[in-house]
Amino acid sequence: MKEPILGAFEAPQSRKHMLGSLQSIHLPMRRFKDEEQVDYAIVGVGAAGGVLLQRLARAGFNVVGLEAGPFWDTERDWVSDEAGSRELYWTEPRVTGGSDPLALGSNNCGKGVGGGSVHWAAFTPRLHPSDFEVYTRDGVGADWPITYDEIKPYYEQLELEMPVAGPAYYPWGHPHGYAYGPHPMGGVGDALIKGCTALNIPVSIGGPVAILSGSHGDRPHCIYRGFCIQGCKVGAKASTLVTHVPDALRSGAEIRDFCMVSRIELGSENRVRGVHYFNRQGEARFQRARAVIVSGYSIETPRLLLNSACKGYEKGLANSSGVVGHYLMAQAGNVVLGRFEELVRMYKAPPAHALTEEFYETDPKNDFARGFAIQTVGPLPQAFGKQMFAAKKAWGWGLRREMMDYNHWASFGLLGEILPWADNRVTISEDKDKFGLPVAHVTFNLHDNDKKLIRAAKEKTMEVMRAAGATEVVQEPRYAHLVGACRMGSDPRTSVVDKFCRSHDIANLFVCDGSVFPTQGSANPGLTIQALAARTADYIISQGEQIFSGRKRDMTDPPIRRQLAPPETWGKGVPRLT
């Protein structure tokens, strides 16, 4: 085999902290002292926390992000290797159960700066207008306290900030287009196009996906190496680590990594006064803050609130409604695998590169409400092995044989809307973590509508795979993503936060992450989480000091503050669609 012309590849020797292959950040960053009162303590620097940190710092607030995992140096810490990427996931102990238990860990939970946005596949469809009024339209689930029109400017904004690559015309939901060009197809995308076309199903080619199709600032374009969900070492896939954290630090934010928040402390006048946490050395510390934002996602956020129960909030902090932990959702995420006579080599190209939302909306012809999407996925060998095990009960020689055909298989993921149910919930377990904190116990049960929807989605996805030319089609039941468990709403008796992600109970406490979703649609939640975070930041900035001391809850919508976006992501020279 040939040798590299310039010798073996060596990592940059600049001693800089690398965020992707080109971008670096100069450290040390600003450090606040524990006894110093910061304006905002943000718990969790993930998809939402990263955006909030950036916006609030740029607006001039003193803000610290406490992150349980590491602040990644992508050149040093990340690898093109499945087994070597397990540190990206939340693997602290949890208990999972119910009639249809959810897999957690690598399936849906991130750890470290960037959180889940580090290992998402980066599909970024918007929710549809119908998603915001599911109860009104279908009599199931819940309505959101906001409409599509209220979040739309933030979708457009975040699609530029990530930015999102996709087709110039996207027909589903509120039709729109993408400013950055679609990606070339890999073997799985070709199969999806072929199958959909044969069945006269429209298909979106090359996106929408938050992966660069051309270089952008100090981030290079995608190299199609297929390790998206192992962390994009290239820096082409958007994560808040590479899109918002650099600007947050330049704007004076602090990220305190390896800091596990254990409890939010309630002070006088029904206001929180800061967070207790364990630092890198495992020492118990307390950070004073004038307000706290919890961005720990759908399991750690309710766990923290429940573990913060105190006098006046015996059921859990900000839980006078009793809703904290309830209405947890995951999407049906069955993987449908098809074997083709010809080679596919599905490890090339991003797993996420084509989809159809043709079956997204409620169809009166169905015996269930709501719908599903069909998307490309691209399992690497470890994941594929476990899929062959689950789908074909393969073990021993049977498994070895199936695996030798790896390059003949393509895989689609269905993404089906599971409705919010009160009995799907996060409670506190008797198990403890290494800090002695009770861990989360997750209970998940499918209901009738969910089961019917999954059956139909599975059949349709398998039909598409067969239409693509697969000679054998099998499937693995699973779930994808998490949302809910601290839902937003207008009624404090049935929801945890208001439409600006502010606790109904406590004026200077916010919950901003996927846990606030009242319903979830069949869209991957990442874009909506970041859009909500930007909107919450605009509200917080508009309210100014009122958050820290005001008596009145102002429900006026804030103006969108595009000028607070990271520089070079909005404005002159950046393509846009209007």
């Binding site: 040798e3 590299p4 010798g7 073996a8 590849f9 990592a11 040093r76 093109s80 290797d81 499945e82 087994a83 070597g84 397990r86 693997t91 102990p93 949890r94 208990v95 249809d100 897999a103 860990g105 690598s106 070339p184 197809m185 890999g186 190299i223 199609y224 190496r225 297929g226 390790f227 995420g333 993987v335 080679l343 080599r345 090339k348 060998p381 470890q382 594929f384 476990k386 095990f389 689950a390 074909k392 009960k393 073990w395 021993g396 020689w397 049977g398 498994l399 070895r400 044989r401 695996m403 030798m404 055909d405 390059n407 993404l415 116990h441 054998e472 099998v474 693995e476 039941p477 779930y479």
Partner: protein, 257 residues
């Protein structure tokens, strides 16, 4: 590294479906002869190269299991992912990575409510498998013939164990099988020799993949050369079954979307 496995008898070798003759062990089974991901390691980034080379050259030493437990699971894993088609110098050690995982008490990030902690699973698992071996063949698992060991494991795979009822009351047989298979798969298919076997291109940063469509090979990849084979006579793990869907098989720890 000295060979871990003894030499192989014919009944344990995959066969030619036409002649029924055993196929001699190969350095590299699979349909991609000459394909070698490790030969490309100088094109990989430094961190990836370090992690993969460490995996190949320095399997972890025993830290958690007793010698007896280590030997027991080594034999079990020889059935979960058999490697008698590989020459002894090219077999992929599976138990060291498991032992290291348990030593560090590292898990996938959750346990099912009907399962004990992973360390306990691997303790009870020995008792349950041995009890099933006793019940069926009147001897400990390690004393059985290879075929009988395969049969014992198949009973557990099919969720029909007859012995050790008190253990299976406290530990789901479905989840137990999932866990040990996941450990076997995660280790075997993390090894570059397994990548070569299945034609997976491996790490591609910073070089990139450039031929995305129609399964075309990169310049350093090869076209497949298929050959037919059937499982060894002394084995019962060759069958697959995609017919049923266990309602409990929400495995999905792979995280593909």
């Amino acid at each position: 590294m000295k060979p871990i496995f003894p030499a192989v008898e014919d009944a344990l070798l995959p066969r030619d479906p036409v002649t029924q003759e055993p196929i001699p062990p190969r350095q590299q089974p699979g349909y991609y002869p000459g394909f070698n991901t490790l030969s490309q390691r100088r094109y990989w980034d430094e961190a990836t190269r370090r992690v993969v080379e460490e995996r190949v050259n320095h399997p972890p030493e025993r830290k958690f299991f007793s010698q007896a437990a280590w030997d027991f699971w080594t034999v079990v894993f020889e059935h979960l992912i058999p490697q008698t088609d590989r020459t002894p110098d090219r077999r992929i050690p599976l138990v060291p990575a498991l032992d290291e995982r348990l030593a560090a008490n590292y898990t996938v990030g959750y346990r099912y409510e009907d399962m004990p902690h992973d360390r306990v699973v691997y303790e009870w698992g020995i008792q349950a498998i041995d009890a099933e071996a006793q019940y069926r063949y009147g001897g400990g698992f390690l004393t059985l013939s290879s075929l009988h060991r395969d049969e014992v494991l198949k009973v557990i795979q099919q969720e029909r164990p007859k012995a050790a009822a008190e253990i299976w009351k406290k530990m789901s047989v479905t989840r137990f099988w999932q866990l040990i298979m996941a450990d076997a798969i995660d280790t075997y298919y993390a090894h570059p020799w397994a990548w070569d076997e299945i034609g997976f291109g491996g790490p591609a940063y910073p070089r990139a993949y450039t031929r995305l469509e129609r399964g075309e090979p990169e310049p350093w990849e090869v076209e497949p050369q298929r050959y037919d084979w059937i499982p060894p006579l002394s084995s019962v793990s060759g069958e697959v079954d995609a017919s049923g869907e266990s309602p409990q098989s929400h495995h999905g720890s792979g995280g593909s979307h």
